[in-house]
């Protein structure tokens, strides 16, 4: 075993930290309070190259490895970038663009990846439905072949970036009798007749990331918008799990690093009973617990990234363990950071409050903690 990160990886993480603190973080609080997507930050993420890090240079990316991508995502959280923006980035780059890149035709890649990598277009992914979440086989959205077209009908729920997306990867049943093998994936562009956003959802956290319900009513898309082979959509959706359990978890891990730094400074400034609160054991114990979580979570998330870099097939057990741990165990540190800040921590103007709200998504999004327990117990 060797847990060493390369000099290049460490340097890049440092660059992302500096960039994010300078270019993104100053606008975070304002946009979170307004529940508004930050287009300016998005543009800068694109210019810096974050949105397409792992894509090849000829498609507008940087050719980075998975570990570097994970470190960049962690750095965003560590800098204090809100969970909404990092969620939008994750859904855009990994759930949407990477699916097109990994399974699409050369034509699809050339058409979409450069625009998505630059941030000129925003991507989303539609899998979940009002009646189908982790139980993917129960999807109801239907895609029917009609000559040179597909006709989509159905509704997608909790779609990150749904309202602002220029391009969506949508999963639909092409053969309702075939279970998982009857699911296919399609690219649907904004403005396609029959494709609409029915409502945007108001959320507790990750508020700068628009979450919407998407509706497809006799939505006609060209046959060439099918991604990969017909019936292979379920496997594609499962492959995004690798990213979901690494690059999408990394900002939550980074956020705890941010909290540690914030709490350390606050605890040394804030005085009670004639001395800084850092003097008190209860405060120090909370900080130690944050650090223990941080290092434990890092180990799990890095393992998923490293395995992906080695080209290994996803170990579903390890992926579920990482998701369950980051999801459930991160609630303690985010809660502790808020309590450590007392009344201030409960106020919107302190970022610890925002991180508490954002972090609450971790055991819910991308498969709840209970679903992870089902998976783990099935595989153990």
């Amino acid at each position: 075993m060797d847990f060493r990160l390369t000099e290049e990886q460490l340097m890049f993480k440092e660059q992302v930290l500096k960039f994010a603190r300078r270019e993104i973080v100053p606008r975070v609080q304002e946009h979170d309070l307004q529940g508004k997507f930050d287009r300016e930050s998005w543009k800068r993420l694109g210019e810096f190259g974050i949105l397409g890090l792992h894509f090849p240079e000829e498609l507008g990316g940087s050719g980075a490895d998975v570990m570097t991508s994970v470190l960049a995502a962690e750095a965003l959280g560590e800098a204090g970038v809100d969970g909404g923006l990092t969620l939008s980035y994750g859904a855009h780059t990994y759930l949407c663009a990477d699916t097109i890149f990994s399974h699409g035709t050369d034509e699809q890649r050339r058409k979409y990846i450069p625009r998505l990598a630059a941030g000129d277009w925003i991507g989303c992914m539609g899998l979940t439905e009002p009646g189908a979440g982790s139980d993917v086989a129960s999807l109801r959205t239907r895609a029917q072949r009609d000559g040179s077209h597909w006709i989509l009908n159905g509704t997608k729920m909790f779609i990150t970036n749904g309202a602002i997306a220029d391009v969506a990867v949508i999963y639909a049943k092409t053969d309702p009798s075939a279970g998982h093998s009857g699911i296919s994936a399609f690219v649907v562009e904004k403005g396609t007749p029959g494709f609409s956003v029915s409502r945007s959802l108001n959320k507790m956290g990750v508020r700068t990331s628009p979450t919407s319900e998407l509706v497809f009513e006799d939505c006609i898309i060209p046959a060439e918008n099918l991604i990969g082979a017909e019936g292979s959509g379920f496997l594609m959706a499962m492959q995004t799990v690798e990213w979901d359990r690494s690059a999408l978890l990394a900002p939550f891990v980074g956020a705890v690093s941010f909290l540690i730094q914030r709490c350390s400074r606050y605890a040394q400034e804030r005085e009670q009973f004639g001395r800084p609160i850092a003097y008190f054991q209860a405060v120090r114990h909370k900080m130690a617990d944050m650090k223990i979580f941080l290092e434990a979570a890092r180990s799990l998330v890095y393992r998923i990234a490293w395995c992906k870099d080695q080209g290994r097939p996803l170990n579903h057990l390890e992926a579920a363990v990482a998701k369950l741990f980051v999801g459930d165990w991160s609630l303690g540190p985010t809660n502790d950071a808020m309590v450590l800040h007392g009344g201030y921590g409960y106020c919107h103007e302190y970022d610890v409050e925002r991180i508490f709200r954002d972090g609450r998504l971790a055991p819910i999004g991308g498969g709840t903690s209970d679903v992870q327990k089902v998976l783990i117990s099935r595989l153990m």
Binding site: M1, F3, R265, A267, S299, V321, K373, I376
Partner: protein, 379 residues
């Protein structure tokens, strides 16, 4: 980065597992109820067997940092097989011998080290003192030079292997410096106390010791050393050992609980089919994998002398110790009345689990030290 064991590390694991064939495992069953004489025999026999595969010579901590991960690969297996034997062996090979290797290495200490590597000797380290003797950073046990001998006075508590040790390393103060007296049990003035009764790890012998005007030849004293490095070495090494004790205990406990959940039936099906049991096991496995990875990362940090190594070791120890307690409790819940019966593996594990949180750097002191480090880093 590489999350796989190297071929050498895997070889250590394989060789270690190979020691514990069925007859050996049966022999080992007696360790938890053994009296001192029997315990000494069992421990000695297994030290010999482990010596034959080279396990006792692998270093830990700052003295042979590059071996840390290879050592942990073996420790994980030994701790999984028997927690009590693991502690007795590690106290001898890593804590006692490590101290001698770090601060002695030649002469009398060198001869003892060779005996340890051959499996000829059970070692013990006496550092903790009774509460009334404790003071900040100091040792109550003192020694002064009188001719060619040091004269030693003091009391030590919780000496693991104390009643069965062939050789003891006793930390004392010589004026303001630390010295290590390497002595044998028959030394006049050295009194080994009776075996202490403990909650768990009943296959380990622990006692207090007392030194009354004990004369130790100068050639058997390492130091005096003018910094606190012996204490730091002991803390780090012991914490790593205890972390791996927890990691091994966790694996043993989960395996037992999983096996039981597949056999025991409720409502016409194995209890594993019930979500409340499956979810407990899923949580246990999550804690297990996290404990393992965090421990290995801490070990790796020691091996490369990372500036955060000590903090990571504390994080790993606190996490693994608390995870093992939680897992032991959940396992007993899964096994219900069967788990509560004395003598079964889960009941024993439940009692053993507490040890890592109170031994070495306690979880409370570890948390304080972790926070101290953070407060210094982020001002």
């Amino acid at each position: 980065m590489n999350f796989d064991w190297t071929a050498e590390d895997k070889e250590i694991k394989t060789r270690l597992i190979g020691v514990f064939d069925q007859p050996c495992l049966r022999e080992l069953e007696a360790i938890e109820d053994a009296d001192l004489s029997e315990l000494k025999n069992i421990t000695s026999r297994f030290l010999k067997r482990l010596a034959r595969i080279g396990y006792l010579g692998i270093g830990a901590g700052p003295i042979a940092g590059s071996d840390t991960l290879g050592l942990m690969a073996g420790q994980e297996e030994l701790a999984r097989i028997s927690g009590s034997l693991f502690l007795a062996v590690e106290v001898t090979a890593r804590i006692f011998a490590g101290l001698l290797r770090c601060f002695g290495g030649s002469g009398h200490a060198g001869n003892i080290l060779q005996a340890v590597e051959r499996g000829d000797l059970i070692g013990a380290v006496a550092v903790t003192e009774p509460a009334e003797q404790e003071h900040d950073g100091g040792l109550g046990a003192v020694a002064w030079l009188d001719g060619s001998d040091y004269v030693v006075n003091g009391k030590k508590d919780f000496v693991t292997n104390g009643p069965i040790a062939d050789c003891l390393a006793i930390l004392v103060h010589v004026e303001e410096q630390i010295a290590i007296c390497v002595v044998e049990p028959g030394l006049p003035g050295l009194v080994i106390g009776p075996r202490m009764k403990t909650l768990g790890y009943n296959g380990v012998a622990v006692s207090a010791i007392e030194l009354n005007e004990a004369r130790v030849p100068r050639s058997q004293v390492l130091g005096p050393i003018n910094d606190r490095s012996p204490l730091e070495f002991l803390r780090l090494t012991e914490d790593l050992v205890l972390t791996m004790a927890s990691v091994g205990l966790i694996q043993r406990t989960i395996a037992e609980a999983r096996k039981y959940s597949g056999l025991h039936q409720r409502s016409g099906k194995p209890i594993f089919a019930h979500q409340e049991i499956r979810f407990k096991l899923a949580e246990m496995l999550t804690l297990s994998q996290t404990s393992q990875l965090l421990a290995f990362r801490a070990g790796w940090m020691c091996s490369v002398s990372d500036s955060e190594a000590a903090t990571l070791v504390r994080c790993a120890k606190v996490f693994a110790a608390e995870a093992s307690e939680k897992i032991a409790s959940m396992a007993m819940q899964i096994m219900a009345g069967q788990g509560y019966l004395s003598g079964n593996m889960i009941e024993r594990g439940y009692r053993d689990a507490k040890y890592a949180a109170v031994a070495g750097t306690t979880s409370e002191r570890a948390r304080m030290a972790i926070a101290d480090d953070l407060l210094k880093r982020y001002v």
